[in-house]
């Protein structure tokens, strides 16, 4: 079904770094996006309407996009002429869908750590349900720090075209968040054979055993669709930080927490299964995987 008019978007920011806005600005075809959507207001960009004008209008909006962590306390998050709380309540009632752009709007994210009781996401406070709202059936979370522009645009397109959108337990689109960052990682063979990357700055070796990589337990398709269309953290030898999960950012992001010298198990793999296999594999030394792929000549 092709809707006969463009869907309207109003973008609102709470406690944010603007990173999700800039991630969205990386979408390769914003001109094509604009054939289906019209952005009425964006706080960082000169757009047709002010927030006051949006509030005064009797027209509804199709998408309210929230970027940043939320709070109901004026001393934490405020606007000049009216309270943020009131602003968000009013806008949310006018909106058909509410899209939480990024982990801050989804769970509270990094800025929640300043005040864990008073700063939260729209529907969650980290893992616990109940954030700015206890319940709100309009909310879809696009977690990530930042979110990938394709996660955002493709979710909006589904809703715009009236396609069914299945969500996981954290209200995230299953199409994106059923994958793990581990899927498509170029270091997978090293993970299989338990070969650590002994140092940084090498294209060989796995970052899971010593360097804190959370790829095997982080839900997102980063290594399937790639960032900026070209790369990903693990492809440049840096650990996945688990930024789409409710507990981002954990402490000790660049070290692997160990339990009896063993790392945590990948998502959904039992300890018995994982450690049995690991025990067997550790008994072998695969020479090919200990060597460099090739030596640079120049």
């Amino acid at each position: 079904m092709k809707p006969d008019k463009r869907s309207t978007i109003v973008w609102l920011q709470g406690l944010t770094c603007n990173g999700n806005s800039h991630s969205f600005f990386n979408y390769p075809s914003i001109d094509i996006f604009s054939k289906s959507f019209s952005i009425l207001h964006h706080p960082q960009i000169k757009t047709p309407f002010s927030i006051e004008e949006i509030l005064a209008s009797d027209k509804d909006i199709d998408f309210l996009v929230i970027e940043g962590a939320l709070s109901r306390s004026d001393d934490i998050l405020s606007r000049f002429d009216f309270s943020f709380e009131e602003l968000l309540e009013k806008l949310s009632k006018k909106a058909k869908h509410i899209i939480c752009a990024g982990s801050c709007a989804s769970y509270g994210g990094i800025f929640r750590l300043q005040n864990e009781k008073k700063i939260f996401g729209a529907l969650f406070n980290a893992k616990e349900s109940g954030g700015f709202w206890k319940e709100n059936s309009k909310v879809v979370n696009i977690s990530g720090c930042p979110m990938h522009p394709r996660w955002f645009v493709e979710t909006l397109l589904k809703l715009h075209f009236g396609d069914k959108l299945s969500l996981d337990e954290y209200k995230r689109p299953k199409e994106v968040y059923s994958y793990l960052v581990h899927h498509g990682c170029l270091r997978n063979e090293y993970f299989e054979w338990k070969v650590d990357c002994n140092d940084y700055g090498l294209r060989e070796g796995c970052l899971f055993y010593e360097h804190g990589c959370q790829g095997p337990m982080t839900h997102a398709n980063c290594n399937k669709i790639l960032w900026n269309t070209v790369s990903s953290k693990t492809r440049v030898g840096s650990a996945c930080l688990g930024c789409t999960e409710f507990d981002f950012p954990k402490k000790r992001l660049y070290e692997t927490p160990k339990n009896m010298s063993l790392p945590a198990t990948p998502y959904g793999i039992s300890r018995r299964a994982y450690y049995s296999v690991t025990g067997v594999i550790k008994g072998f030394k695969i020479d090919r995987l200990e060597k460099r792929l090739y030596e640079e000549d120049n």
Partner: protein
Amino acid sequence: MKKITKELLQRIEGEATLELDWEDDKISYAKIKFLNFRGIEKILENRPFLDALAITPRVCGICNTSHIIAAINAIEDAYMSMGVDIKLSKKAKQIREFALNAEKIQNHIKWLYFSILPEILELNGEDDTNIKAFEGKDWIKAQKICSEILKAMAIFTGQWPHGSFCMIGGVTCDPTRGDIYEAMRYLENVIEFCEKEIFGVSIEEFLSFDSSVQLMGTTGSLQKTVGTMVEHNVSHIGKSYDRFISLGESSSKKRPKKCLVTRVINADISFVSESLKNSFFEEDGYTYSKSAMYKNKYFETGPIARMMIVKNPLIRDFHRKYKDSILTRVVARVSEVAHLLNKSKKILEKIKLSEPSCISPSIPYGSINATGIGRCEAARGSLLHKIEITRGMITSYDIITPTVWNLGNGSKEEPAIAQKALMGIEEICEADLVFKAFDVCAVCTTQ
């Protein structure tokens, strides 16, 4: 007659406001207020120091790479203060610089096309649909080219925003020659755009300019911006103290420098201080932003400061005619794109991939007890990170961003940089333009 107007600036809705005092139809004083606070410096405390590499970029979605560079510089400085030898390969230095350059290029282009040009065209009374956000032909072209330079960067940093690619002793990536060719391909597209759309001449020719007359003979969006500002008589507004500072490690100036009008002198970061005056952290405060000073004086930081310090002939010529006005500020920032493209291309041509990406020191993280200072030149100016590490954990972290230098608040007797630039202005729209020319970034100003 004295009237007080409180003006809310639309572009930075909800995050910053200017409170303007008027006397005899001129702005007699301006208060710059930022009302949201995130507390990143506190969040960093009691974390292992490497976490700073992941957390500090989240200060700002548009200058996150600068924060990683400042953070790794601070950590490496702490190591060196303990006598640990940190040796970066030339390749690692080049990759860090390339990433930083790419971030500045996209930031300058976004600023020109998303913030400045729409205002300039409005001065002309043009309702130019080409610059309309998310739809206009020119806006889309600029947006695409920003994402193009960020692809070139992401080859080394994994992603933007919020990539992580720096580690103690180097970088984490290990690019192949094919990766370098890909980065070059994206960079060439950006160069082509800038030559055609912004400068109207080749980068090489633009870099040879030493007079404003040469620039006025071109036909790009930079010439259009300058011409419109001159025509509408806004070229002389927005002057401040004519004092500049550049603390960072940019490729052309390794040591911190300052510039008093046109005289360049070495600077010493131990004279940098931060004031909480007028902030909510003190009585009667009205903003969350702090302010930064050098020897208790306000200095302007940013592209104009960098260009004045390297004695760039074109900017020196604009400065002779327009001093540190909004016009010189705009030309300096846009011109810097040409320099950055040129340097970035040279990096890709020269990089030797057989050099190590990272030479990690072998000392365990938990044995680090030290303090370090990291400097970096971000798009908007000098960025400082100060870290204090006790047994591998952060005990204190202090960040001074460029906007804290430019957009802090002083007093009526001694206003800060942007305040001084606003005083004496007669029209609200001019005040708006002068303020925007500093590139107001609320998230950087109040971390």
